[in-house]
């Protein structure tokens, strides 16, 4: 029998999957679920789509959120342990990473979270911050020390005071040495010290200017993101995904599925797929990979694109990571021109595409699973939301924002509204969303301790447990059916009123 780890992870030992799954809190979650949903008396029902092993299938969208993605694994671990598997997968940024791994590892009917945990245990998060050592140092200080800005201000004050004192010394001793001759030694000393001091300041300023130039040359990305690219590429290759074709094959290959109850849509039309969201800056579009590969390569050349690049593109947090580029797009080719025209209404396809984090446009792309043709859903669309908003009220006080706060609110209003708008109009989808509370964590803190990772995993597991207990498939199904029928009726009455 597995002994639960009641306390914290043993210090000094490398992080192992057992530190997560054998944690007392996680075991308690599973125990609670098994008690609420005993297999014989009251089994958990979340979907009408089943495979021959009794697994239930749902669609899953995972939100982006930097290192908070660890919590996503805790959430999916519980879902998988309760026999839930994923037909269609979508994600942005950190959600795209988890989505990619869930797609490529094993088969659809296999549980994947343990393998993902293993990959996380083996990954040194700090190595993802692969920029210049000076930039890494600054990022680390700013993220892990809340009072670092105060410290920097204090340093700058001292630099100014010392400069003033040295210049004052030059001035005073130069004047005095005309009357007191031996003071010329101090004058010389102060002149040399002043020069040396300003030399040091000059070197620091020159170094900073080099760093800024480097930032400009790298397309305003502090970290190249090469370490992540190599890591995710290795993960894909380790699971036999070398090309886009391999990735699509993994995403679409399904086991034998059947329906728990009859549905007019049947089971044959169900398909699996995977979607990574990214933002393309040249043409200013939201791109869904791998579906939209045909915009960047001719269909025959689709495998010249690297699937690891899609995930790299999706997680390119602007400024923190360099943009991901797809070069040499055959923009003169008719096939490509037609694709851009049909999809994006763009008559002039670009030669190069430059991608940044999909979270800029759609950090929680649950709208991908919206299908107006299906009246009665066969399976739900589950979503995992990472909620890192601070519970304090200061951010809601519009008069208390500083300049950064003001721009931050504007930026967030723009980037969140696209997904929020869909959920406002289709409220029933919210019933499938579990919101993981992570306000105590910084999404850019790549310097997480092992205990932080475990804690986030536990929070994810707890949220999933509460979600499954509260979720009622029949209610969800009925609500979605009613919603879809209402929407369709409204459409019909709208179109008839026009005539």
């Amino acid at each position: 029998m597995i002994q639960p780890n009641v306390g914290n992870k043993t210090a000094g030992k490398p992080l192992a999957t057992e530190d997560f799954i054998n944690n007392a809190e996680v075991l308690k979650c599973l125990d609670q679920l098994n008690k609420v949903f005993p297999k014989d008396a009251n089994p958990l029902i979340v979907s009408d789509v089943l495979d021959q092993y009794g697994n239930q299938y749902v669609n899953l969208v995972q939100k982006g959120g930097g290192v908070l993605g660890v919590a996503l694994v805790g959430y999916t671990y519980i879902l998988e342990k309760m026999g839930i598997r994923f037909l269609r997968l979508a994600g942005t940024s950190a959600g795209a990473i988890n989505t990619a791994l869930m797609t490529v590892i094993g088969k659809k009917e296999d549980a994947k979270s343990l393998s993902i945990l293993k990959a996380i245990c083996d990954l040194n998060f700090f190595k993802l911050v692969d920029g210049h050592p000076a930039a890494r140092w600054i990022i680390k200080k700013f993220i892990t020390h809340q009072d670092f800005t105060v410290k920097v201000k204090r340093w700058l004050t001292w630099i100014a005071i010392i400069a003033f004192l040295l210049l004052a010394g030059d001035f005073i001793f130069l004047g005095l040495e005309h009357k007191i001759l031996f003071l010329s030694i101090f004058t010389k000393l102060f002149f040399v010290l002043t020069s040396f001091y300003f030399l040091l300041i000059g070197v620091v300023l020159f170094y900073c200017s080099r760093l800024l130039k480097r930032l400009k040359n790298s397309g305003y990305g502090i970290n190249p993101g090469d370490y992540f690219y190599d890591w995710i590429k290795q993960q894909l290759i380790a699971n036999s995904v070398h090309t886009v074709t391999d990735l699509n094959a993994k995403a679409t290959t399904l086991p034998d599925l059947h329906l728990r109850v009859d549905n007019p849509e049947g089971v044959a039309s169900l398909k699996g797929d995977v979607t990574f969201i990214t933002s393309e800056l040249v043409t200013q579009n939201k791109i869904q990979f791998p579906e939209m590969c045909y915009l960047f390569r001719k269909k025959a050349d689709i495998d010249t694109l690297q699937p690891a690049g899609f995930i790299r593109a999706s997680m390119s947090i602007p400024v923190f990571f360099e943009s991901y580029m797809i070069n040499d797009i055959p923009c003169d080719c008719d096939e490509i021109k037609r694709a851009w025209m049909d999809t994006m209404d763009e008559p002039d396809p670009p030669t190069n595409a430059r991608f940044v984090d999909g979270g800029m446009l759609s950090n929680f792309p649950i709208n991908l699973f919206y299908n107006p043709k299906v009246i009665t859903p066969r399976l739900p669309s589950f979503g995992i939301d990472l909620d890192d908003s601070k519970p304090d009220n200061t951010s809601k006080n519009a008069t208390s924002w500083d300049l950064f706060g003001y721009f931050g609110r504007m930026f967030n209003t723009i980037r969140y509204y696209y997904d929020k708008d869909f959920l406002l109009k289709n409220k029933v989808y919210e019933k499938g969303i579990g919101k993981i509370p992570l306000s105590d964590y910084n999404w850019l803190n790549f310097f997480l301790s092992d205990q932080d990772k475990i804690d986030m995993f536990i929070i994810g597991a707890k949220t999933a447990t509460k979600f499954l207990i509260d979720f009622n498939w029949n209610d969800y199904k009925n609500n979605r059916t009613i919603m879809q029928m209402t929407l369709n009726n409204e459409k019909v009455s709208e179109s008839t009123s026009h005539y």
Binding site: G131, H132, P133, A134, L174, E177, S184, I185, T187, K188, F191, V192, T194, S195, F196, F198, L199, V203, R210, R214, N217, S218, G219, D226, T304, L305, Q306, G309, E322, S323, M325, I326, N327, D328, N352
Partner: protein, 238 residues
């Protein structure tokens, strides 16, 4: 061998002039320094001298060779030539600072006298570091360079600190001391013509520099025109 030398300012003017001339030639060579990291862009020799890590240095060199063949050859040729020309630049550069520090030393007394003489002599240490650095880089600049081990790279970083730190320290301290002598009137009239020569040399240097320097955009445009003749291959990493 004597520890102190009383040089004539004329030697400094000659060394300084040669240094400026060679620097101009090296500047023209650097017009061909291009690399391809995400996009084609210009780089400076400082990018190679101060890489963040051994791996990034190698990546940087590989990026140069990922340019279309003709351009990669042009850049690597210019880079190698600049490193070779640097061997001629070194005696002029370190020699100038040696003379300058020694001149200051001869005007100083007690500790200052010794301190500036030491600053002058340690220019040879910096020169040696520069020679080793250039040989290291000349060996590295090839299509498939190997990543240096940690010890080698740390040594390279230390060389860079010494190579830049020693002459900077000596020149700044010497200029500060000379400024002091100027302010208190401790100079001879005989040295004033040399000051005029140095100022003229600097003016000529900046005038030629202005004529020979082209904007990065223009250089890139010129490069891209050359590039058109050598169509790049599809990058499989995409």
């Amino acid at each position: 061998m004597p520890f102190y030398f009383d040089f004539n300012w004329l030697y400094f003017c000659i060394a300084f002039g040669v240094m400026l001339l060679l620097h101009l030639i090296m500047g023209v060579q650097s017009n061909n320094f291009f690399t391809k990291h995400v996009v084609v862009r210009k780089f400076s020799i400082l990018d190679l001298e101060f890489p963040p890590s051994a791996a990034e240095m190698v990546n940087f060199i590989k990026d140069i060779f990922s340019l279309p063949a003709a351009q990669a050859k042009k850049t690597s040729f210019a880079l190698r030539n600049q490193l070779l020309l640097d061997f001629l630049f070194m005696p002029a550069f370190y020699g100038s600072i040696f003379i300058l520090s020694m001149k200051v030393s001869m005007k100083m007394v007690y500790f200052g006298h010794k301190f500036f003489a030491v600053l002058a002599w340690i220019q040879f240490v910096a020169w040696l570091c520069d020679i080793i650095e250039n040989i290291y880089l000349l060996n590295k600049i090839r299509p498939e360079p190997t990543v240096s081990n940690v010890a080698a790279f740390k040594s390279y970083e230390a060389l860079e600190v010494l190579k830049w730190g020693i002459p900077l320290l000596a020149s700044v301290c010497s200029i500060a001391a000379i400024s002091y002598f100027w302010l208190v009137g401790l100079y001879s009239y005989d040295s004033l013509p040399y000051l005029v020569i140095i100022v003229i040399e600097i003016i000529i240097y900046f005038a030629i520099k202005k004529v020979t320097t082209k904007s990065e955009d223009k250089l890139l445009q010129k490069f891209l025109q050359t590039d058109m003749e050598n169509k790049p291959q599809v990058n499989p990493s995409n």
